[in-house]
């Protein structure tokens, strides 16, 4: 059905989504908190909505939603509920489909409403067999959008108008993301706190499933805002007390602008590098196909695949779970060790003599083959990455980053940056470097700042003046106002730079950036032990308030901790989190005497590149 649809619809020139609808849920139940429940709740809500629209259906997708939805439900679930066709939302007339219901799955955005209105209005003119229209807002219904539909005269055409509260999407056993692309920009640049409202709603859903979180800590204006909304929503909740035993002990809300540095630095974990270089989207990565060509004897290199190789990356894959958070320099040895183990395991067959032994060998075969193909994939990826990390430019860039982070020459124009501009390296790389320098120096001197800006405008075009302005508004790039540079104090107190980093067998989170310990994760670490009181001074230097709130629990639900039982802390990054930071938190979870396990939530999984990109103003010269 799926492929048939694909072929059929392509003929008519419309893009059909199908491939995203795969995936299993095993990886979600692996962590301390079973996130399958959240996914199940999402699936249930989806099924209930689909069943409301009786009969055959076609879904018209806001394209941005297909990725996140893929993490909740496979295509088969939709098929079971009579979804026969899927289209991408676009202007004009809807493609023909012999179905009873047309359902729009959209984010509540005005521009999308206009497209929907156009679809619906042109439908009426065709006088095709009557079809029922429905609309599903993700994650929330919007009066504004409904008003827009009303103004367009189509509101009455929709039989069901509902919302699907897809706020926090489970990405992995310990990872939730809202995948809200522009959250950082909206919050810190435009003062639009919509995504924070969704974050608070998502946290309420989470609490409904996993119990009220007794302690809330936070740092930053957005964190404060989210905490306020949570407390308010709790009051609004009819039906009163939640009677679920709390699974989370603590919620830590962190503003991204408390730590602007970490995303700017190049991540050096395996997963971080994959993301830096190829970009991971909704747990999938697309890789250049050459290294993944099937090795057949005789006809080497004849039919190189041209389609990018698409792989899903999550902890369901044993090997990946083991290496994803390691420093890339420690990945090679693991891979070669694995290779030996696997080939040894295959060797076993020569020793299998009795029927029983052979039978046992055969029964393990599927697992071994999966392990072997997983190993092959990751060896290929590691090779691809190694080509880049061993390049001179990567090395030079990293050296400069590390100099900045350890506080060397942050107050003058950097030669390497200048050279890169002169050679017109990608603009985002330049912006990352300049911003990094600015952050590590608590702002740049006027002369230095103006020089960089002039260089950038002359080289990349004056239109980037607006992007530079955005970066300044977001605090990524700024003028040093006070004579005092706070960064060294923060660096020393929080031990952000560690000279003696051990990449192979790390003893500190600084391994994720080969020396730099992400400030955000240090804050989490220090909160757990010995508490923030010890760093009051530094906290005051960081932007926004820090606070603590307690949510009362009925006496029956108060936790009596078993000896040696770890606390569970949910760290919510408002404005995005990098894979390196996630790796650092996972490292803390696994520390033997750590005492705290972390679950991570965020508005978006980011890296320096896509983060800066989201802040860039896209100005295109008018066509002539």
């Amino acid at each position: 059905m799926e492929s048939e649809n694909l072929a059929e619809s392509r003929d008519r020139g419309c893009h059909v989504i199908g491939r995203a609808w795969r995936g299993m849920a095993a990886h979600l139940s692996s962590g301390r908190v079973n996130l399958t429940a959240l996914r199940e709740a999402g699936r249930r809500e989806l099924r209930e909505f689909l069943d409301k629209c009786a009969g055959s259906k076609a879904i018209v997708w806001d394209e941005y939603l297909t990725g996140p939805f893929g993490l909740i439900a496979q295509y088969s679930l939709l098929k079971e509920h009579e979804v026969e066709k899927m289209f991408t939302l676009k202007a004009g007339r809807l493609p023909p489909a012999d179905v009873k219901n047309i359902i729009f799955f959209v984010r509540p955005r005005l521009e999308l409403m206009d497209i929907i209105a156009e679809n619906v209005l042109s439908e009426d003119r065709v006088r095709s067999p009557l079809r029922d229209f429905h609309i599903l807002f993700v994650p929330r219904r919007s009066l504004l959008c409904e008003q827009r539909l009303k103004d367009q005269g189509v509101l009455g055409s929709f039989i069901h108008r509902e919302q699907y509260s897809l706020d926090l999407i489970p990405f992995d056993g310990d990872l939730l993301s809202m995948e809200s692309e522009s959250a950082f920009k909206e919050c810190y640049l435009e003062n639009d706190q919509t995504s924070l409202y969704h974050a608070a709603k998502g946290l309420m859903t989470l609490q409904a499933l996993y119990g009220t979180i007794p302690q809330i800590f936070g740092k930053g204006d957005c964190a404060r805002h989210v905490a306020n909304m949570m407390i308010r929503m709790k009051r609004e909740f009819p039906g009163g007390q939640n009677s679920i035993f709390p699974i989370f002990d603590t919620l830590l809300l962190l503003d991204r602008n408390v730590d602007l540095l970490s995303p700017l630095a190049t991540q050096l974990t395996y997963e971080g590098l994959i993301d830096e270089i190829y970009g991971i989207q909704n747990t999938y990565v697309k890789l250049p196909p050459e290294k993944f060509a099937p090795k057949k004897q005789g006809e080497g290199g004849k039919d190189l695949p041209t389609e990018p190789k698409k792989l899903q990356l999550n902890s369901a894959e044993e090997l990946y779970a083991e290496i994803r958070d390691k420093n890339f320099n420690a990945v090679g040895s693991v891979l070669s060790k694995k290779a030996k183990i696997i080939s040894a395991a295959f060797e076993e067959r020569h020793h299998a003599k009795t029927v029983g032994e052979i039978k046992q060998f055969v029964s393990q075969l599927p697992h071994m083959q999966a392990a072997r193909s997983s190993l092959a994939n990751h060896t290929s990826i590691a090779e691809l990455i190694k080509d880049i990390t061993t390049s001179e430019d990567f090395f030079d860039n990293l050296t400069v980053e590390q100099e900045f982070m350890s506080g060397i020459d942050t107050d003058k124009v950097n030669n390497y940056t200048e050279d890169c501009i002169a050679q017109k390296h990608p603009l985002i790389k330049i912006l990352r470097l300049v911003c990094l320098q600015s952050v590590c120096n608590s702002g740049l001197k006027q002369k230095v700042l103006d020089h960089y800006k002039r260089e950038i405008l002359q080289t990349y075009g004056y239109e980037h003046i607006l992007t530079l302005n955005n970066l300044e508004k977001a605090g990524l790039l700024k003028l040093q106002t006070s004579s005092r540079n706070n960064y060294p104090t923060i660096r020393k107190t929080m031990r952000l730079w560690m000279d003696d980093v051990n990449e192979q067998n790390p003893n500190d989170i600084s391994y994720v950036y080969s020396g730099y310990a992400p400030l955000s994760v240090r804050l989490a670490q220090l909160l757990a032990r010995p508490g923030w009181r010890s760093i009051e001074e530094v906290l005051k230097m960081l932007p926004g308030p820090h606070f603590e709130e307690r949510q009362q629990l009925p006496t029956g639900l108060q936790k009596k901790r078993q000896q040696g039982e770890n606390r569970v802390t949910l760290v919510f990054f408002l404005g995005g989190v990098t894979y390196a930071e996630i790796a650092a938190l996972r490292f803390l979870s696994q520390m033997e005497d750590g005492g705290t396990e972390y679950v991570i939530a965020t508005t978006k999984l980011i890296n320096g590149t896509n983060w800066i990109k989201s802040l860039m103003e896209k100005l295109e010269p008018p066509p002539f």
């Binding site: 009066l143 003062n191 706190q193 919509t194 805002h225 308010r232 002039r454 405008l457 239109e463 008018p622």
Partner: protein, 839 residues
């Protein structure tokens, strides 16, 4: 207890009937009931009387008086009737009073005589007048049937969803039918009417003549008919005194009775109950009451006063000026236990318990007798069931005590039925109290359900009792207490004698944060009553902003709505209010309002950015936000201007704004941009190549690529491009042009600010080793290793590194070596490294 069966009367072989007093009426009526229009609601509902209705003289002094009483005769309300002539009163299923006027208007009052609304039964009725009317209840709701002066029937099956139906004509009907009734069969409402000796059935489309099966041909003309509570049974009374009883489908006859009185009865109703043994009809004349069933005998009572019959699910209520009685067939369990000389297990258990209280050993004998027959559980069940049928708490108690006693001798008797019956009886006794006056029987209560009972208590404004019952029955707050408190509050806001503060405070005191309370609903009610200020005060208590905002908007309190929307954090709500404000206020005030609300302002800016760019400019102007205005103009130089002049003008605006914003850098940069744009335009014209909108860097690069070195130099000077960058730029372009000669010339023009390594790099990038060599010689000693590496001369690189005795450089070279081809180099370096170590 010997006299317990004293008021039992047998009807035939099978059944006993009893009549007992519910209340002695508290209403002190002076009039006879016959002089009033009377309507009593089923399920122990209220009684409405319209006095003086029949007087013909219409002086204001003798206006009719509408009075409403509880079933115990406690007055609830009264009002002077100032409307038209009323033909019929009736109660709806939700205990609203319907007053059907002669002109076909139906007025609806609540049980406190407060007018709610009215509707009309249509023009035909208006013209021909209502002669008779009936109110009836079906699964569709409460219906009204009208017989007009033109002998036509009109009806509606649901007054809340008014659809008038005019029934077909009855052929040859010249006078009013002698009697008629509304039937409901298979969800269809039909009318049965009698004219003399003929019966007609009227449905939506046709009129047919019917004959009841088994009726004697000499029965005579029909004068009265009765339909049972559940529409299953029909009774017909003829002028020969014969009563025919059968199913209302007219397919089956149940029985016949012939009585001595031929006068048309005042009322005739069915007296049945679920699982009746005997279905009987109660017939009332002025002073006589007769219960007749399928038996030769009947039961007769003398009536001392005018009485009125109210058919119920399980019996008949009979009220008069002084008393209110209930007549019903004795239920089986009661009969078993109380029948004289009964040996039923329940009877024995009751006896055993009495003996036990007397401390007599007979208790054991009785008990043994039951246990020997293995009937103890049955006995307990009978006692529990019978307790439910009893009206007197004393009798209830003795039966329950017996059940409780019997239970002690049983293993694992499920306690639920006992507990439930105790609880239900507690509730029933409370509402039967004459102050409350709802004489529900157990069966009626079960049929009505607790939810409806609570609604009825709320309707009577008996809030405390309703809450007590909720608490006593441990109903969830959501369906119980909260709902009642909300009703109370909605009533409270209508009390106009109290100040807004008082009412709001009183409501909040009582309701507090009870979950499930919707303050916005109460506020909406207050607003409907014209109390806007009170509504606002109440909304303060509403925790859900989503609920506050729409009502505030409706009340035109947009500013407040905006505050609430912002507090909620729900940006969609903020947008909604902002756009509402935008339509409501003039532009100036609108902007001023936004000014005070930064959150709303930023959201509106976002909205404008996508929807109304011009407004965005006005907003920035109003704020004197020159930086943003500058940005705005830069933006429009790209998005809205197509001609170069237009773009330059927009950019010039930006420059002005940037200066005003004291952003010197941006102003200068934009001036440069204008300069560049103009220059590009000129280049484009002169060279006939696209230059516009390339960056300065790319423009210069392009010029060099085309060999326009002079112009490139000019731009370099005009825009003060730093030397370092210009050198990089120039050699890259020259290399791409493969203009090696020019490159060499350039390299010698002065000392390179970027050194000579970049030359090597760029030549190698374009695979020109020959040229690269030239520059490699000029590279500073520190960079020599790198230069050699670039030129893939690892051997020389190694030599240079060894010469420098620099370990880092040696390692760098090593990292470039491959084991297969460069083993000699590797060896060389390792030797050197070893040597350094030795020292």
């Amino acid at each position: 207890m010997a006299c317990y069966t004293a008021n039992w009367d047998p009807l035939g072989e099978e059944a006993f009937y009893r009549k007992f007093e519910l209340y002695s009426m508290a209403w002190n009526l002076k009039e006879d009931l016959r002089d009033c229009l009377v309507a009593a609601a089923p399920y122990g509902g209220p009684i409405a009387l319209l006095k003086n209705n029949f007087r013909k003289e219409k002086s204001p002094a003798s206006r009719p008086l509408l009075e409403i009483y509880s079933a115990s005769g406690v007055p609830l309300a009264s009002v002077l009737w100032k409307s038209g002539q009323v033909v019929q009163l009736g109660w709806t299923a939700s205990e609203d009073l319907l007053c059907i006027q002669e002109d076909g208007t139906v007025l609806i009052y609540n049980l406190f005589c407060e007018f709610k609304r009215h509707f009309s039964m249509g023009n035909e009725v208006l013209q021909n007048h209502v002669r008779e009317a009936k109110v009836f209840h079906t699964e569709y709701g409460t219906g009204v049937a009208i017989l007009t002066g033109a002998h036509r029937f009109s009806l509606t099956t649901n007054i809340d969803d008014l659809k008038l139906r005019r029934m077909p004509e009855v052929p040859g009907l010249q006078k009013l039918p002698s009697c008629w009734a509304v039937l409901s069969q298979d969800r269809v409402t039909i009318i049965l009417l009698a004219v003399g000796q003929d019966l007609y059935l009227l449905d939506n489309t046709s009129c047919s003549v019917v004959t009841p099966p088994g009726i004697s041909p000499h029965a005579g003309a029909y004068v009265q008919m009765a339909v049972s509570f559940n529409y299953y049974y029909l009774a017909l009374f003829t002028d020969t005194g014969s009563i025919w009883m059968g199913t209302s489908s007219l397919k089956e006859k149940l029985g016949e009775f012939s009585c001595d009185f031929r006068a048309p009865p005042r009322q005739m109703v069915w007296c049945t109950r679920p699982r009746s043994k005997q279905r009987a009809v109660v017939v009332a004349w002025d002073r006589r009451l007769l219960v007749a069933g399928n038996s030769k005998e009947c039961i007769q009572f003398v009536l001392d006063e005018d009485s009125y019959l109210v058919p119920e699910l399980d019996g008949v209520r009979i009220f008069s000026r002084t008393t209110h009685e209930f007549l019903h067939e004795i239920p089986e369990a009661s009969e078993e236990i109380f029948k004289i000389a009964s040996m039923a297990p329940g009877a024995l258990l009751l006896e055993a318990q009495r003996e036990y209280e007397k401390q007599s050993q007979k208790a054991d004998e009785y008990l043994r007798e039951i246990k020997d027959q293995n009937l103890l559980a049955e006995a307990v069940r009978q006692c529990i069931e019978a307790a439910g049928y009893e009206h007197e708490p004393e009798t209830q108690k003795s039966l329950l005590r017996a059940a409780s006693f019997g239970k002690c001798f049983l293993d694992k008797f499920p306690p639920e039925s006992f507990v439930r019956t105790c609880r239900d009886l507690r509730v029933l006794n409370a509402i039967r109290d004459y102050q409350i006056g709802i004489p529900l029987t157990f069966a009626q209560y079960k049929q009505l359900t607790i939810e409806v009972l609570l609604d009825r208590l709320v309707l009577r404004r008996l809030y405390p009792l309703a809450i007590k019952i909720c608490e006593y029955l441990r109903l969830s707050e959501f369906q119980g207490v909260s709902r009642i408190l909300a009703h109370w509050a909605c009533y409270k806001v209508q009390q106009k004698d109290k100040s807004d503060e008082e009412v709001a405070h009183a409501i909040n005191q009582k309701l507090g944060d009870t979950p499930g309370i919707s303050y916005s609903e109460i506020a909406a009610r207050a607003y409907d009553c014209g109390r806007t200020e009170l509504a606002i005060k109440l909304l303060e208590y509403e925790p859900r902003s989503g609920e506050q905002v729409p009502l505030l908007l409706k009340m035109k309190k947009s500013q407040l709505a905006l505050n609430k929307a912002i507090e909620s954090g729900d940006t969609d709500l903020v947008y909604t209010v902002v756009l509402h404000l935008k339509n409501e206020l003039n532009r100036g005030t609108f902007f001023m309002t936004l000014q005070k609300q930064p959150v709303a302002l930023s959201l509106y800016r976002q909205f404008c950015k996508h929807q109304e760019l011009e407004t965005l400019k006005d907003l920035y102007n109003q704020d004197d936000d020159h930086q943003e205005l500058g940005n705005f103009h830069v933006h429009s130089s790209y998005s809205s201007e197509k001609r170069i002049e237009g773009r330059v003008a927009a950019l010039q605006n930006a420059v002005d704004e940037y200066y005003k914003a004291k952003n010197e850098f941006a102003a200068k940069a934009t001036e440069d941009q204008i300069k560049l744009l103009r220059m590009q335009r000129r280049l484009q014209d002169e060279l006939d190549k696209p230059y516009v909108d390339y960056s300065l860097h790319d423009t210069v690069y392009g010029l060099i690529l085309d060999g326009n070195h002079k112009r490139a130099e000019q731009l370099y000077r005009d825009f003060r491009i730093p030397d370092k960058r210009f050198w990089w730029l120039k050699i890259s372009a020259l290399a791409e042009r493969e203009d090696w000669e020019e490159m060499e010339k350039f390299s010698k023009s002065k000392k390179s600010p970027i050194g000579y390594l970049p030359f090597v790099e760029i030549c190698m990038k374009h695979h020109n080793r020959h040229e690269a060599k030239k520059y490699a010689a000029r590279v500073t000693p520190e960079q020599r290793v790198k230069a050699h590496i670039l030129m893939r001369e690892l051997d020389q690189a190694a030599d240079a590194a060894i010469e420098h005795k620099n370990e880092n450089e040696m390692n760098l070279v090593l990292s470039k070596c491959t084991a297969a081809t460069d083993s000699s180099v590797v060896e060389k370096i390792n030797r050197a490294k070893a040597q350094i170590l030795k020292k």
